[in-house]
Amino acid sequence: MSRLDQGGLIDRSRPLAFSFDGRALSGFAGDTLASALLAQGETLVGRSFKYHRPRGIFAAGSDEPNALVELRTGARREPNTRATVTELYDGLVAHSQNRWPSLGFDLLAVNGLLAPILGAGFYYKTFMWPAAAWEKLYEPIIRRAAGLGTAAALPDPDHYEKAHGFCDVLVVGAGPAGLMAALTAARAGARVIVADEDFRPGGRLNAERSEIDGAPARMFVDATMAELSSLSNVRILLRTTVFGVYDTGTYGLIERVGDHLAEPAPHRPRQRMWKIVARRAILAAGAAERPIVFGGNDRPGVMLAQAFRTYVNRYAAVPADRTAFFANNDASWRAAFDAAAAGAQVQAIVDVRSAVASALADEARRWGIRIILGGQVVATEGKRLSGIEVATATGIETLAVDGLAISGGFSPNVHLTCHHGGRPVWDEAIAAFVPGAVPPGLTVAGAAAGRYGLAACLADGMAKGTEAARDLGFEGSAGAAPRADDGDTAVEPFWYVAASRGPAFVDQQNDVTAKDVKIAHGEGFRSVEHLKRYTTLGMATDQGKTSNVTGMAIMASLTGRSIAQTGTTIFRPPYTPVAIGALAGHHRGKDFRPTRPTPTHAWAEAAGAVFIETGPWLRAQYFPRPGERDWLETVTREVTAVRSGVGMIDVSTFGKIDLQGPDVGALLDRVYINNFSSLAVGKVRYGAMLREDGIVMDDGTTARLGERRYLMTTTTANAAKVYQHLEFCLQVLWPDLDVQLASVSEQWAQIAIAGPRAREVLRKVVDAGVDVENATLPYMGVIEATVMGGVRARIFRVSFSGELGYEVAVPARQGEALARAVMAAGQDFAITPYGIEALGVMRIEKGHVSGAELNGQTAAADLGLGRMASTKKDYVGRTMAGRPAFRDPDRPTLVGFKPVDGTARLRAGAHFLGIGQPADLAHDEGYMTSVAFSPALGHWIGLGLLARGPARIGERVRVYDPIRGGDIEVEICAPAFVDPEGVRLRA
């Protein structure tokens, strides 16, 4: 095991230092962690998932099942990272995972002794008794013993971002087929994006010693990349995996912008998630080698033949001193010859076939490689591989090797073709599943389509590139494909060595053995879907890239059916794991969603407000003063100040919808339960609207500003929903109504002035000549006016608090000035800014419903709004509001509550029970929706939905709150606790 002195695609002038399990090692630029480890003789890399068996490096790409490591340290520690796709960088730190106390000596390897009870579906069959022990005992132990790495517990210091891309042709894979497809489409003039998960384009050409147009294939790759890079209509995304195919030509990609660095470059993301919309896509993802299953096939030193070839040719790293090959196909012989040419000792090629092409045999002899035809490896030896047992026609023979390169043939990388439900189909000629139905706009080229020969790949890529471009109207002369040799591609299906000794692993990542497949079959599982779920075959980070087909083939042989009859599972996104952070992009922490400040935010901040998130809005919750002990004291002061003097609050967050046209009245009559066409100009009316199912959607006031113009206000939470509802009504239900909508929520800042002194404050804010007296602007009136010296305003005489109240709307940029002007005008009256807590207290005192009552479960009658509902017109939700459940006299209905013990605190969410009744569902009579400490009354009050509530006023019920330990009696009362006659608001 050593690094070759020459060759490979590594840069020997750029040595890189790294460490593995604390050992200082070195590699070169161009290495992966896996190739650098192999070059340094590190063959033991990890422990297996379940049995903690020693494992090495099995593959050379994203199909790796075994070599999962914890990469980096501290906050950047990243478990389950495949060493085979981890680009080496200076200072890289990696640790093995899932072992204790060390990789070399792992005590949990004792699990291997428990294999008889840890087999397929063990968690369905064992650890079942006693049932309570599963959650508390068995599962924690199993989770600790099994599993992979440990995630960092610290916040990720890096950032991720998202981007959108558009192209005519997306080419997935920059191997020979992909490069030709991209080049052809780009030359025709199409906008092309070509993505490859590797950091080096070329695909198989990096791993093979092939020639194109009589020159080393590397020159073809370099020349093609140079041309593609020079074209303005081409974007090349290396280190980028196309992980999913979504609707209408949308593809998900992950670009690993900074994964190959110790830390991302300044201001650059760690990863970028691309959402690319492509008119056409060409899948040129190549094919992956699959293993043969035999006894001891998981021992470190056993590796896929093409991976072995890749390490030798691309990385100039020879994975073993003495190697044997075990295969069923010609391509493995080429891999063996490459290894020999590079200087590796290839002891033997064991081929299950009884005969091979004479040219292959001749070449093997030239390299001095022993040929064992009709042979099978039945077992292996050593913690790290030290020997193999080969069954031949003459008996069992042991070969002393420390490397075994295996191959059961190739499986096209069809994954993306399955993302719309397409099911691959079995192609007997190449013994592999090839794409079946493909997503719209996607075609498959080269080895991914089962065309393995190099010449075939180049020609197919060119054909598919031409076809995609032509489909889109780009004409170009395709010319002739580069010349190359197809090579030897013969294969004879062979999956499993029946005479295996020792565990024979089908899925190395999940520790699923051939025996597990047999157990599943023996227990009645026949479907490959069930096989997968029962045994976990094909799950986890590699998604069974090296195990699926073999597992299905074994199942097929057990059931006596062909592989075509047995079928295959299909693949869903993502192709390889995607970090959650990449899906979030910049939307993390406080930037998780937009924050909407109100127009008076800066003023409120200066006034010492405590803010609270209400949806995306940030609103003033209360305005504490020095010396106040808690929020309750502050809120009580604010409420008292409003009720006894005057206060102000920003209510800009309410939705505001401008409605214009001759039919607005008709529309409003149809969406509100009450009548609006009769509303006079200059008047405001409270209304409630229902969903089609009779449930209350929203409530609010609508003002009539003119003959043809109205202004609707909605609750903060439902602003968008109500607008959408109105649009639906106009576009779908009644397109004949001449009504134009516009959201003006952002245009207007709105400040409520409330309290007995409100009018006195308002008089000082409006411009001279503006009359706000009772006669001109009575309760539920509206005027358009100017304030603060010429600022356009709308003044609504409405009240949520129950006090004399006005809401003054000005253009949003004037909101802060209005707040200051109102505060200045109210100075003589000790005006008090109040937040939404005080607003909530006052609306509960008044018995007004809000979000807790408009909860998507209540009908108008439940909220005491039944009498508002017109019986003389039709409106949305009317029919469904009349269904029997809503007429049930036992239906919980809004009433008020006060504690019998005046000092007791009420809690929202507590349930009502009859006095002396047991606390169970059968006796549940409703629940408390909103509570507040009423400064006016000096005790806690509540609103709630109680069965037959209004008929029970004066009675007592039990308020049961097991979560917070509450169990008290309350008296049922009318929901309006303060000024039920509404005298104050009409003052």
């Binding site: 950032h159 971002e161 558009f166 910049h586 930037d591 127009p599 952002e746």
Partner: protein, 196 residues
Amino acid sequence: MPDLLGHIAQTRIVPAGRYGANDQGVTVTLVEGVCFASIATAWNRTEGLNARCAAAFGTALPTGPKRVAASGLAFIGMGPGRWLAAGFTIGDLEGRLRDAFQVDAAVCDQSDAYVLFAVSGENARAALAKLIPIDLDPSAFRPDDAATTSAATIGVTLWQESPAPVFHLAVGRSFAPSFSRALVMSAAEFGCAIVG
């Protein structure tokens, strides 16, 4: 990266200054003094509305997501029968449009509803590609093209005024701080200057 804006409150538009890399790949200008109004055509009055628009402003309203400019005003198509009118210091834009369109359209003053960002620079497209889910390539989005879409989950109406390119993005006023953060974070790798 979150630290780039860690010291700036979520509630204010990222203030003028330079952010991110040392280059100046993206310049963001806060455009002040623009009046906006929304226009919605009355039922079955599109033809009359266009005639009135042509008479008053010398142009028909654009069909589809386009911008037309005339008489110191720009009309940007936002949806079927919906436009945004924009112009510098027009004064009572709503009144002027209302007078021109009469009952053929509903007009609402939206001058305070939007904050207008102008995004320019060599990397403007690359930065906006991280926010906007539409194709801004010169072959697909040209001067006087417009779109109403979303950027980092925030609704925007954008149009291109110059091939340079300069993109204008009108964003709801309360969303402008969050939008500016998303914009700066997306432009940081190219170097981002906020002006105005």
